[in-house]
Symmetry: C2
DNA sequence: GATTTCCGTTCATCATACTGAACGTGCATT
DNA sequence: AATGCACGTTCAGTATGATGAACGGAAATC
């Protein structure tokens, strides 16, 4: 078999468009302002954020510089890197000791600080948070009850023992679904 | 001060050109063949490898697919991502139990396979390895002795308990400095 | 040694990404 | 209300990236 000749190899333009919108809204800048800083025209940026076109490297690069983000932020992972580990899932850390069992949920990036919070929430109370500083990640381990947690627009429903990590430099929510919902929240900043 | 209006923001085209040449030579494919697989013209690729032009995202993406490399491979910095964790350093995994203490060295990328090896080395014996497959990472945890480990040209000296991770798709070495040097080597492939 | 086949480069032509002005809109200010 | 000024979008013109044929050279095949 001849290896994929002429395969169009579609570019994740939609993902890039979303990334541009997300990063710009995070920075709080207007489309015009970003275009001005990047030295490109508003129309070009407007097109790109609409997911249309096929930008040149120069254009994308200028935008990354203007937004002060690494290039990979727009491409590599569909950035909102949301990870869910259900109760019982996850790799266990091997221990010589007898019946000790630790499940690794998230590795700590070196240099990161982690603050721990306890959350008590009741149904009907939706706690919506504004974006934090860039790079901030929140980890939530649900202790009891049920809750919708995560990035606004695509939250995850958690049950007891479930875990989720999501970027907290975009708007995010915590909404209890049943009474006496308790959780541990770890706020990680680089 | 108005924040950098109109700054040209130079693109690292030379670095990208070098990356294209490097990755293609690594794959052993001809320029024509890569162009054919990517579905672009030879002339375009020829220009890009010469560091000329300003490729569209579609073009670059197609090349990355054809070369089977992540996009960031062409842009990111001088690739070798080397991480050293000295004995005693590193984030410890919290345990309710008494004096148990686990230091997390590297979280496993999902889908990655990890093979574990035991290494026994004596001074004078320099073990130089040729590059493995792209994306392969080696982790070395030194058990006893001393050793120079890592990417050829910039190895790291390890003592007991020290840990290092380095890309193994470039030439790398393991050189024991004292007798009875032992280590655990984890070979990780995506 | 002539021929074939692939290699990588160069150049005129075409397709299109980018531009800049004009537009409708919403929010302050007067 | 009227005005001013940002915002984001649309559209015709233009700059330029991508193409495909033609090229010279090297290696394999006859």
């Amino acid at each position: 078999m001849v290896p994929e000749p002429q395969t169009p190899a579609k570019v994740p333009m939609e993902s890039i468009a979303a990334g541009l919108r997300r990063e710009r809204s995070r920075s709080g800048l207007s489309l015009s302002e970003v275009a001005r800083r990047a030295g490109i025209s508003k129309s070009t940026l407007s097109h790109l954020e609409a997911g249309k076109g096929n930008p040149s490297l120069e254009t994308l690069w200028a935008l990354c510089v203007a937004l002060d983000i690494p290039f990979s932020r727009l491409l590599d992972p569909p950035r909102p890197h949301i990870r869910v580990v259900r109760a019982g899932e996850g790799a266990a850390v091997a221990a010589a000791e007898s019946d000790y069992r630790a499940t690794l949920l998230a590795a700590s990036p070196s240099g990161a600080r982690r603050d721990v919070y306890r959350i008590d929430a009741e149904p009907g109370m939706v706690r919506a948070s504004d974006p934090h500083m860039p790079g901030v990640v929140e980890h939530v381990l649900l202790a009891s009850g049920r809750a919708l947690v995560g990035v606004t627009g695509e939250p995850v429903e958690l049950g007891p023992g479930d875990y989720v990590a999501y970027p907290a430099d975009v708007p995010h929510v915590f909404e209890a679904l049943v009474p006496s919902t308790r959780a541990v929240l770890v706020l990680e900043h680089p």
